[in-house]
Amino acid sequence: MHPAFSIIFFTTATGAGYGLLAMLGIVAACGRLPPDRWLGLASLGLALALIVIGLLSSTLHLGRPERAWRALSQWRSSWLSREGIASLFTFLPTGLFGIGWILFERTDGIVAAGGVIMVAAAALTVVATGMIYASLKPIAQWNTGFTMPAYLIFAIMTGAVLLDAILKLLDWPDRVVEYGALIVIGLGWIWKRATWRHNDRLTSAATVNSATGLAGGQVRSVEWPHTEENYVLKEMGYRIARKHAARLRLLAQLFAFGLPLVATAIAAATGGGVAKIASVIAVLTQAPGILVERWLFFAEAKHTVTLYYGFETTGRT
């Protein structure tokens, strides 16, 4: 699948934003969120900035962005529509949570209750994002049980690393957030490796034989219908060289999981300036790492329509 930057940025930025919102709601529900106005302004401001810029980026992908509001109408059947509604609904509890935290400097009682609704709404939005991809049967690498949980795990992982850095920078370090971040980074790493392992061994139900209705024997594409690449090939026939995929997988693991894990551990084990710098390094290494991870998510996904053009749709890229 063509890795469009607007969608890669959209899914990673909103993922981190909703993950950060969810972390704030969870920490508030545990009664551990400092009721400090400036902390509220910084963390909610960052989360909302990531979400709003991400949502705007997603409209760049549209042929008719001015009609984007229509996408809110088909929640009965469409995960994309559900994602749109959930993303907008999340602003409601987030607004109430923000008013309580920033204006009244309260993070307990009814504000914490609003935070729980915020967690649920953020999680639903990310689930809907994941289901858009997981529900597409023509793409075997996405149509698995790994896809939707991956979106949830990577959202909470990037959100936890962001929150850890914000808390440290504003001198409110929290043990639970540190350990939480370490656990979800580890979980994310394991999940990504398991996904790759699963996808590399996929066998596709659809074959060039079933795609053409020519049973038995070998079917070899000898002539395409067009001399140049068409929309279908540009959008769904993206191919990535195997050696590049292997290198990018290493880079993704190093930056999205390895370095942030080490930096977060150093930040947890030390204190003061070293912890601040280490927690910021965790954020700065994870950001390009998760972008590479998401780029690969698209680039390594193979669509059944490419069977008609003589491509393989399973196995390692």
């Binding site: 042929g63 008719r64 009609r67 109408s73 088909q74 023509p138 659809a206 002539e223 959008e235």
Partner: protein, 244 residues
């Protein structure tokens, strides 16, 4: 509404005979010609006279080599929208622009509602939907709704443009929901198949596989155009003289 109708009155569709298709591309150009001024007009071309021409087409003909135990054969394969009974391209649509008609089962796009998110093209295993980057909306085969119900055309012309154009009669149009219709009978007689049935989209269009080669068919080798050995007599003498 992008929820699917519980059933459709008719199941209009195509039956494509892979045995007789000669890959002449007449259906492709006829489709383009009709539809670029039809219901989904225009079928925009991008850089049509340049080095890398591109454009929207509803119908594409691939060519394959099918080798099996009984030998090899060349198969021309027209690919277009199959007007599935459970089309994911419709249910994934967030705006309600994609819909399947309850009356005849045709899958269409309302171009005034489409936002060009392209998710329907990802959801279609058959590559039936293409983005028109100039208009910014998705385009697809309409089964020529502006021909098949067109009272201004002679009754024999009320078939999709691709069917009207086919010089070998490899394309058939009709109601596949009626088991007694000519197309349904053709499908049962010739063992018509669904494409990628394992994905569960339940295509309405059917493909008739090439007929098996009859066993014991005489091997008809062409006669040599001129004798391999030179003739005798005067002509033989001339031939030898000229060949020397």
């Amino acid at each position: 509404m992008t929820s699917l109708p519980s059933g459709t009155g008719k199941k209009l569709g195509l039956v494509i005979d892979l045995d007789t298709c000669v890959g002449c591309q007449a259906c492709v150009t006829s489709c383009k010609e009709w539809n670029t001024s039809g219901h989904m007009a225009p079928l925009t071309d991008i850089n049509p006279y340049g080095a890398d021409p591109d454009g929207v087409w509803f119908n594409r003909v691939h060519t394959y080599e099918h080798s099996c135990e009984s030998g090899g054969s060349t198969v021309h394969f027209p690919r277009s929208c199959l007007h599935c009974e459970t089309p994911a391209c419709v249910t994934v649509c967030p705006t309600g622009a994609s819909y399947k008609r309850a009356s005849d089962g045709i899958v269409l796009v309302d171009e005034d509602k489409c936002i060009g998110c392209q998710l329907c093209s990802w959801a279609c295993p058959y590559g039936a939907r293409e983005l028109d980057p100039v208009v910014g909306v998705m385009k697809k085969c309409t089964l020529c709704i502006d021909r098949i119900y067109n009272d201004n055309l002679a009754p024999e012309d009320r078939v999709p443009a691709c069917v009207a154009a086919c010089p070998t009669g490899a394309r058939h149009f009709g109601d596949l929901g009626d088991p007694d219709s000519p197309v349904s009978r053709l499908v049962s007689e010739r063992g018509g198949v669904d494409l990628m049935p394992e994905l569960g989209y339940r295509p309405v269009n059917k493909y008739l596989p090439p007929r098996p080669r009859a066993a014991g068919t005489a091997v008809a080798q062409a006669r040599a155009l001129e004798p391999a050995t030179s003739a005798g007599g005067f002509l033989g003498w001339v031939d030898r003289m000229l060949s020397a």
